[in-house]
Symmetry: D2
Subunit: 276 residues, 4 copies
């Protein structure tokens, strides 16, 4: 009897690329709030999500330095450290403000797989961000007023995002930085003849982040760009304006998720985008 949560299933279950939840995350975030072309942002939304009338084109870029742990202290595995870049677009689900992730890049295969299981459309990339250290040094910015942090993301040798944040003041309500519920689309295609456009799995889900903590949160001014990159449509969301940036440490756990709608059977949405 084969064991495991994700392929390869194996005799002991230890070979799987991903073990079953709970999945625990801690990471340093460099975030940038910006406004994309509202039509371009709307064009990324899946069936069931609508443009947020209070924030058309509103979006967040996140560069993350993550550490992951599944079972007891698996953060001791050297595969646990990885980096990520993602875009989140403001949207609504049945009138409720939510975030939608159209594009996300990561440098770790287990994270790629956990992403797909959760409905994050991950591709591989390389991501870096400036770090701070608990000591004054010309090698790092202070985590405080005037500290400037940069980040960049590339995929397959092409730069896709660059950001820079200069801290000004602590964030009064850190949890609000990641306050919107996250709606993802779990999607797994068929390969059977004639059914390539009939996915085996296609559902909108709500990510349930447990024990979410946001600490050491500072905000300030920001710069951000999304250069053209073949095979990626990130640049369609290039900022019209950049509102602000922040730096914070984030931790949460994932146990499961909630299906909002099964798009393989739901006729009301018809796999087309709901009018905004």
């Amino acid at each position: 009897m084969l064991q495991g949560y994700f392929p390869p299933l194996s005799p002991s279950g230890k070979s799987g690329l991903v073990s079953a939840p709970p999945w625990h995350y801690a990471g340093d975030a460099l975030g940038i709030r910006f406004r994309a072309d509202p039509d371009a942002a709307a064009a990324t939304l899946p069936p069931g999500l609508a443009v947020d009338p209070d924030s058309p084109g509103g979006a967040t870029a996140l560069f993350m330095d993550w550490q992951f742990s599944s079972e007891d202290q698996t953060y001791l595995d050297p595969v646990s450290q990885y980096r990520e870049f993602l875009l989140l677009v403001d949207a609504t689900w049945q009138g409720t403000p939510v975030s939608w992730c159209p594009y996300i890049y990561v440098d770790n295969d287990a994270s790629l797989a956990r992403g797909w299981v959760q409905g994050f459309p991950k591709k591989m990339g390389t991501i870096h961000q400036t770090r701070s250290f608990p000591v004054a040094t010309p090698a790092a910015p202070p985590l405080g007023p005037g500290g400037t942090f940069a980040a960049a993301a590339s995929t397959h040798g092409v730069r896709i995002a660059e950001g820079r944040v200069t801290l000004a003041a602590p964030v009064a309500d850190p949890a609000a930085l990641v306050g919107r519920p996250l709606v993802n689309r779990r999607y797994f295609p068929r390969l059977a003849a004639g059914r390539h456009q009939e996915p085996a799995v296609d559902e909108l889900v709500r990510a349930d982040l447990h024990d979410l903590q946001v600490v050491n949160a500072w905000a300030g001014s920001a710069e951000f760009s999304l250069p053209d990159a073949p095979g990626n449509e990130t640049s369609a969301l290039a900022p019209i304006s950049v509102d602000a940036g922040f730096k914070a440490t984030i931790t949460y756990s994932v146990q499961d998720l909630t299906t909002l709608v099964d798009l393989t059977t739901d006729l009301s949405t018809d796999r087309t985008t709901e009018p905004s």
Copy 2:
């Protein structure tokens, strides 16, 4: 309306990690036929597959230098070159000899995704093999008698396989090198609470390789090892004996596949291994 075959679906459909078939492959293979412990090999089989009574423990290791192309000339994309290592175990499906792939590693995210869609349980790895060149040089072995080729695979910084083949003679029937039909297991888990062991997709499928050609095939003696590697059970299939090695160039196309059994609903197999 979002377009695409694999996430991220996008306005133009050009962002997807993988485009829809046809998928065309050409690659240099270094292969090794060996015999694993029959019980260890049997323990990797999914429900529905049985030990091949004519080849208990029979297995093939393949190191591949691939080039991929989807639509017209996408081999011009620098992402098209990648490398792979896989193990194939001899088995039977309803009495017919087939190959089963318990473990496979690749250095390219698009190949990872195409693998999962086809039911290959891919993880990321780094793979290298010796090349030959169409000129006599001390920098490369000849593709002919006495030419020695080596290959190695690692995953996350740990060596998982090493092989070496010394060519002796051309292969009389090259197509027989990859003659068994390939049976894979398409598997995509659920994340909903209480259903982590009820996959959304779990089916045995037969890979349909079109226009398969095997050329420049040479066979000879071989060495092969599968060292211990934490988080991987490849070493359970470490060779008891090594039969022979080969080098060949392989090309084929994938358009679709054939589902043999849906393991999420088929009660007869009950998701346990069929007795051999």
Copy 3:
């Protein structure tokens, strides 16, 4: 007594990043002849080299898929396969036409070290080129008329070069593709206080390529670009015009080199560029 040719020197001498020559190379080349801005090309020349009056701005881009071997059959080491991108500028040394390499990128640390020892100013990069296979397949171009090959190079996540060649006809004189002697600058700086601009090693050398063979050489039309990339001045050599492209397999050996002038002591050149 420590052994070895390059650090780390070690008790057995097997730890060194690079072993002593001879060094044997075989590789697939995708090459593009182009013309850069003559002033920009001249600005890359070291003291002692002058603009070639018969080819001002003349340059060659080379994308290489290499295999290396030092002693007996070290091509069996998986570290032996690597990829490279370089630019060569037409110049003269004491009136003799030569090639000068202002910029070169490689994906392998041993090659980086061998490069520096020879005077190639290597940095790390990622490089890919389309391959051909000895069989007709939609996954690869033919090595013949109409076959189109692409190549790309990046460094630290930023694209620095893209090329494309469509083959038309065999090359009548393949050796002429790499016919100019190569002049490099061996350079190793000091770190002692006040002497940062007084290199410990600074000499012009002539690379001596033994047993040079160029086979399977085809020429045709080409496209080439050198996009802007921060921290790299490759784009200053962006093509004004592209003459032609070629594909070939190259093999040669390196045993040593010849010093043309020691720039740390030669007063006549005075470390300034010779007038052209």
Copy 4:
């Protein structure tokens, strides 16, 4: 006139793999004090260094998560974050206790070059260590009693080191963790015929670390191993016993260094190891 400190020298000087000092470093260290076979440790010493009679076989392993900055705020460059693993052996120089680095691995080409300029015999590797975060989370250990941190290093797909430290108590004198002066060997070979064993540069130097600060230092129990790895002699220093581990944040600057002896001319040392 070409500009720069390290190749490629270029018209603007911005292409060089490394810019001139000052070089500023800040990093998280996971360190392990252990005892190697005294003869094996002695065998790694260069001419001029002797076994420390008070610490025969005494050694330190360091896994580092670094951030580098050269000029004003170059920590904003995404190339500034990198990781390193090194071994330091206790030795004496003219009776003074010093540290000697026989082997060191890093994942960044600029760091490789700065290393060679300083006399660190760097090769490329992949290195990871567990991180702590300023918040209680199952995804990370606390930086305090009972917190367990792991680290691993590999080179070219083969694991070379694994360590684990469980913190017990703050370190009373953090600066003592890196208290010994560091002696390196700057070495750059010749390639001229017949002179491969007559390096162009071969000198013992003392690294001068300015503004060294060691903060957040905790010590505890440790495990450490140096597995066999072909082409590397690290395993010859495998621990006979492991004394203790520590975790700390380190920052310092490098401006220059001091030459202790020029081994290309110094006849007294004769390039053989001084008797201990």
